[in-house]
């Protein structure tokens, strides 16, 4: 019996299975991508593929942050509102002047982190459902955005800002896509190598045990939510960069795209599992699903139906791969 073989390292086969079962979403992504490529050769064109990567940036960046809090056993539904707020805020602070860009970006990031920090403090020091608290915070932030902006996205984006992020290196890779991929890779790497991320897993796995083991549960919770807010702000800036912002509700509803991606990617509400890699894959699964039905030319209503079906089928497939060991 394998239980009696002592503390040796895993053999190769076990490792492969373990990888496959915890990265099942990548298999789903590969399958979906193959289907997409069969149905439309657009999915084989580098320019379009990087377009998809760029499209994924706002939701993807926000999802990285939300993954962190969900590993911790929390959730953050305020990111959509943070995206709206920071997108408007950045534009207003820029006020059309190139010189204002650094200040605008820094300030927006600070605001995102600050709001996230408030979420974190309220959650760390109370026994409330983060789901509902952050949902309520989302409404608060939306109200603040509306009051602040008077209902119009009144900022003027500085010249050069969007051009920089949308510039295609070598005519193919937009800077924004690169930025997002870079962030994702750094995230995946940090998640494996930092003490902070290990702490997230420990707390998410069993908060009581984490506390007994001497972890600073409260502090880590606050930092994680602040990071989620920070990533939300980055997502807001990414949205502004990708497509400009023409209303004060630019991020409305994105929190659910984010949440769907994080859960599909294998990070659960219970915490202690999953990771950024899976989330990124799931962001692409959802995005390709949408683009595919769009590109294949289905009607709007059929698009909705197929999108829903793909969400359900992809997560079932994911569960299936997870079970086969």
């Amino acid at each position: 019996m394998s239980d009696r073989t002592g503390t040796v390292a895993d053999n190769l086969q076990t490792r492969i299975w373990r990888w496959a079962s915890s990265n099942a979403i990548w298999i789903v992504l590969a399958l979906l991508f193959s289907v997409a490529a069969l149905l439309s050769d657009a999915f084989l064109r580098p320019v379009y593929i990087f377009n998809i990567v760029r499209q994924a940036a706002p939701v993807g960046v926000a999802a990285i942050g939300v993954t962190l809090v969900m590993i911790l056993g929390g959730v953050d539904l305020s990111v959509g509102a943070i995206i709206s707020l920071t997108a408007v805020l950045t534009a207003v602070l820029m006020d059309g002047q190139v010189a204002n860009i650094p200040l605008a970006v820094t300030f927006a990031l600070a605001v995102g982190a600050f709001i996230g920090g408030i979420n974190g403090v309220l959650i760390a020091y109370n026994r409330i459902s983060p789901f509902i608290l952050t949902l309520g915070m989302a409404v608060v932030i939306t109200g603040i955005t509306q009051i602040y902006s008077g209902g119009t996205a009144r900022g003027i984006v500085s010249p050069g800002f969007r051009e920089f992020f949308n510039f295609r290196i070598g005519g193919v890779v937009p800077v924004l896509a690169l930025f997002f991929l870079g962030l994702a890779l750094v995230g995946v790497r940090l998640q494996q190598t930092t003490k902070f991320c290990r702490n997230l897993y420990l707390i998410g796995s069993n908060p009581q045990a984490a506390e007994l083991s001497g972890l600073h549960v409260k502090r880590i919770t606050i930092i994680a939510y602040a990071l989620s807010g920070l990533m939300g702000a980055m997502a807001g800036i990414a949205l502004l960069a990708r497509s400009g912002v023409s209303s004060t509700f630019a991020g409305r509803g994105l929190e659910f795209d984010v949440l769907a991606a994080v859960i599909l990617g294998g990070t659960t509400f219970q915490g202690g599992r999953g990771g950024i890699g899976g989330t990124i894959a799931a962001v692409f699964v959802l995005l390709i699903a949408f683009n595919l039905v769009n590109i294949v030319g289905l009607d709007y209503n059929a698009q909705l139906i197929v999108k829903g079906a793909i969400i359900i089928i992809a997560s079932s497939a994911y569960i299936y791969f997870k079970k086969v060991r």
Partner: protein, 326 residues
């Protein structure tokens, strides 16, 4: 469809008996907004407030926001009635869905004025000060088809599916297409008045269709997303953009690219609506429908309206500076 439009003209021309609504001041005005998360509406509301400031007998303007939820709008209208307003201006989430609530108001002697939606012929709506979405859609379509030389492939970028605007614009487009057999509608998409979404959808369509000759997009704020996608794909020169509304971001685009032009979607309907409302309260006879006409502005002229030092999310208007949003 044409008969219906003739019919509508006739109904709009009817004279409303306003004697039941005649009332002494001071007046409280209620505004039941179907939604506020949209700069056009913000400007329209500013017009209402501006006009109210010109009347000494208006003591206050109460505004409610239904955030696209028709049941909330019904509730808001009921709340306004409870509050004892003397006039209700509204723009609907959906016309039919709030008829019952409006009827409660008219039954109580509170006139209701449809502000900026399409013309509504209903006993519960005292009068409409309207921008004809159908009419606007028609103008946009005609101009687009003319610019395209009467043939080619197009797609339509419409607002939120199910809203009156989306429904009327698509109907108008299809009606005009009957006169242009060589125009082919590749697909009708819903960009939810969202620039990012419009851009993403366009990016997909660009992959699917090797040939797109024109885009029907009456909402300027989506048109810029669409145009940007074409631009990035290097295909902007192939395509003809339809006129959009006088959304400042779009006007800026028109000015830079010198094409497309604009069909106005005047935010001053707000002001007109309140003026009409005041006449009703004074017992003057008014027409059931008062159209605030959309005008076509050519690309060259549209550039003049563009306010480059203003945000994209802004509307050309004649409001005094102090009354412009913040």
């Amino acid at each position: 469809a044409d008969e219906a439009r003739v019919m509508q003209e006739k109904q709009a021309a009817e004279i409303v008996d306003t004697s039941a609504y005649k009332k002494e001041g001071p007046y409280k005005i209620g505004v039941a907004a179907g939604y506020m998360g949209n700069s056009w509406v913000v400007f329209t509301l500013q017009h209402i407030k501006y006009e109210a400031s010109l009347h000494d007998d208006i003591t206050e303007v109460l505004v409610t926001d239904a955030a696209f939820n028709p049941t909330k709008q019904v509730a808001d209208i009921e709340d306004l009635i409870s509050k004892g307003v003397d006039l209700i201006l509204y723009w609907p989430v959906d016309d039919k869905a709030i008829e019952g609530a409006l009827k409660k108001a008219t039954d109580k002697g509170i006139p209701t004025i449809n502000t900026g939606g399409g013309f509504v012929n209903s006993p519960s709506v005292t009068a409409s000060v309207f921008i004809d979405q159908w009419n606007l859609g028609e103008m946009v379509a005609r101009r687009l088809f003319q610019d395209m030389g009467g043939k080619g492939k197009i797609f339509a970028m419409l607002p939120i599916a199910g809203t009156t605007a989306a429904v009327d614009q698509l109907a108008a487009l299809k009606a005009v297409m009957e006169e242009y057999p060589d125009i082919e509608l590749l697909s009708a998409e819903y960009g939810d008045w969202n620039r990012a979404k419009a851009k993403q959808i366009t990016e997909n369509l660009l992959q699917k269709y090797p040939e797109i000759d024109g885009v029907f997009s009456p909402a300027g704020q989506m048109s810029i997303g669409v145009a940007e996608a074409f631009d990035e794909a290097g295909r902007l020169s192939e395509v003809i953009m339809s006129p959009g509304d006088e959304y400042n971001g779009w006007l800026k685009w028109v000015r830079t690219n010198n094409q497309g032009g604009a069909v106005t979607f005047p935010t001053r309907v707000g002001q007109e609506a309140l003026r009409l409302g005041m006449r009703i309260l004074r017992g003057e006879n008014v027409r059931r429908g008062q159209k605030v006409p959309s005008e076509y502005i050519s690309p060259g002229a549209a550039g003049v309206y563009a306010e480059t030092d203003r945000p994209d999310d802004w509307w050309a208007s004649e409001l005094p500076e102090a009354w412009k949003p913040q």
